[in-house]
């Protein structure tokens, strides 16, 4: 027992130090590309930390969204930035670029910023150490009401029943980000995707598998780790892979059909909220007997929308405009 707990301390200590080291390197290593790769590694290590903290649902979300999708977004943005530099034709030298990538404010400013940040770190650390060593939070309240929630995975119960209103607004944030990006009117990247037979084959093989995994995560979310966000991001990853392989949505589907897919999750959520309001006088109050069905409908439509939105975030420009220019 003693040895085991020592081993645990060793593992957790290594993860903690590894996280801090990766974060430090990602933020301060001179090359941006390296920084992004380190950030992705950081996300993967975060996933391990979540597993150690007994939060497998969060680990799944982190690996799919935090490390995977954010990493893909960062890398593709980095590549586009480099393309701008190349297209400007002023021959931005490698050296210049590296200089701009690690440019910081004046050294005086470093000290000016470091002092309050250090003070804050000490204060926060002290504040956390002062917390009582035992606290259960809301776990008993969740456990007592779990039967009435329609699902047996407590995290899903919180996300889609007890605090479903948060989730409604969160899907709104996701949709809003996409609408915001579309209104920036970014030109689609001029570079044609280089069609590669191996990548194409990989996409063909993985897409059905990702579909399957996504459906599994969606289904399993009711009683074990998983749920709409994890399923949606896996499905969205399939979309990203297809985009990378050079596949584009046919124009006939890029207008209203795509838009409907993007909003169906949020719209269903609102519709259910209003129906429950009319029926039971309370927003998003599901009758316990039908709660599991309602949650399943909400999660399925949310998965579709989340996947579509995430893939569209990756594409960046509006698909119904891209072909015209």
């Amino acid at each position: 027992m003693e040895a085991l707990s020592l081993l645990q301390w060793l593992i957790d200590g290594l993860i903690g130090i590894g996280l801090l080291w990766l974060a430090w390197r990602a933020l301060f290593c001179p090359e941006l590309f390296k920084a992004i790769v380190l950030f992705i590694a950081f996300g993967l290590l975060m996933t391990l930390a979540w597993v150690r903290l007994k939060a497998p649902d969060v680990a799944l979300a982190e690996v799919a969204i935090g490390a995977g999708l954010t990493g893909a977004l960062l890398l593709s943005s980095w590549a586009k930035l480099r393309d701008f530099d190349a297209n400007k034709g002023m021959g931005v030298r490698e050296k210049n670029r590296v200089q701009s990538e690690q440019k910081t404010k004046r050294p005086f400013f470093h000290w000016l910023s470091a002092t309050p940040v250090l003070l804050m770190a000490v204060g926060l650390g002290y504040g956390v150490l002062q917390l009582s060593p035992y606290a259960t939070g809301l776990s008993t309240a969740v456990a007592e009401n779990l039967d009435a929630s329609g699902v047996s995975n407590p995290v899903t119960a919180v996300l889609l029943n007890f605090r479903a209103y948060d989730t409604l607004l969160e899907i709104a944030v996701l949709l809003l980000a996409l609408i915001g990006i579309w209104s920036l009117e970014i030109r689609p990247s001029v570079r044609e995707a280089t069609l590669d037979p191996v990548l194409d084959l990989l996409a063909r093989l993985l897409t059905p598998l990702l579909l399957l995994v996504s459906a599994y995560l969606l289904w399993v979310g009711a009683h074990a780790s998983g749920g709409a966000f994890q399923a949606g991001s896996v499905l969205g990853a399939a979309g990203v892979l297809l985009i990378l392989a050079g596949w584009r949505l046919p124009l006939s589907l890029a207008g209203l059909p795509l838009r409907i897919t993007l909003v169906v999750g949020l719209s269903t959520f609102i519709a259910v909220a209003v129906l429950m309001m009319l029926d039971r006088g309370q927003l998003l109050a599901f009758p316990p007997s039908q709660a599991s069905l309602i949650i399943f409908v909400l999660e399925t439509t949310a998965t579709l929308s989340i996947a579509a939105i995430l893939a569209a975030l990756f594409l960046g420009s509006r698909p119904d405009h891209s072909e015209k220019i």
Partner: protein
């Protein structure tokens, strides 16, 4: 500990050795092509050995299947991506290392 436990440990250790060797190769090899070579050894063989070691401890055939699936997926993704990286490097004109 039974015989299968000892075998498990053996496979896991062997897998770890491959990972270690792959990592050393990644850090020490001279160019991108040889580094890819080192990396795939860790991924393919190392992970394969670890999967075998874990499969011996698995409680059901379903989890053995899942473990195998993980290995196959890593094989698929690893080989495709190594191919893409090597191809890009060739396109960009990265020279192969010669003694």
């Amino acid at each position: 500990m039974t015989l299968s436990d000892y075998l498990s440990v053996l496979f896991l250790l062997a897998g770890a050795v491959f990972f270690l060797a792959g990592t050393v190769g990644l850090l020490r090899f001279p160019d991108v092509y040889t580094r890819l070579h080192a990396l795939t050894k860790a991924d393919n063989v190392g992970l394969g050995l670890i999967v075998i070691g874990l499969a011996m401890q698995a409680e059901s055939y379903a989890s053995v299947g899942k473990l195998l699936l993980i290995w196959l997926l890593v094989l698929l993704a690893g080989s495709s991506i190594s191919h893409l990286i090597a191809k890009k490097a060739l396109q960009k004109g990265v020279r192969m290392w010669r003694r």
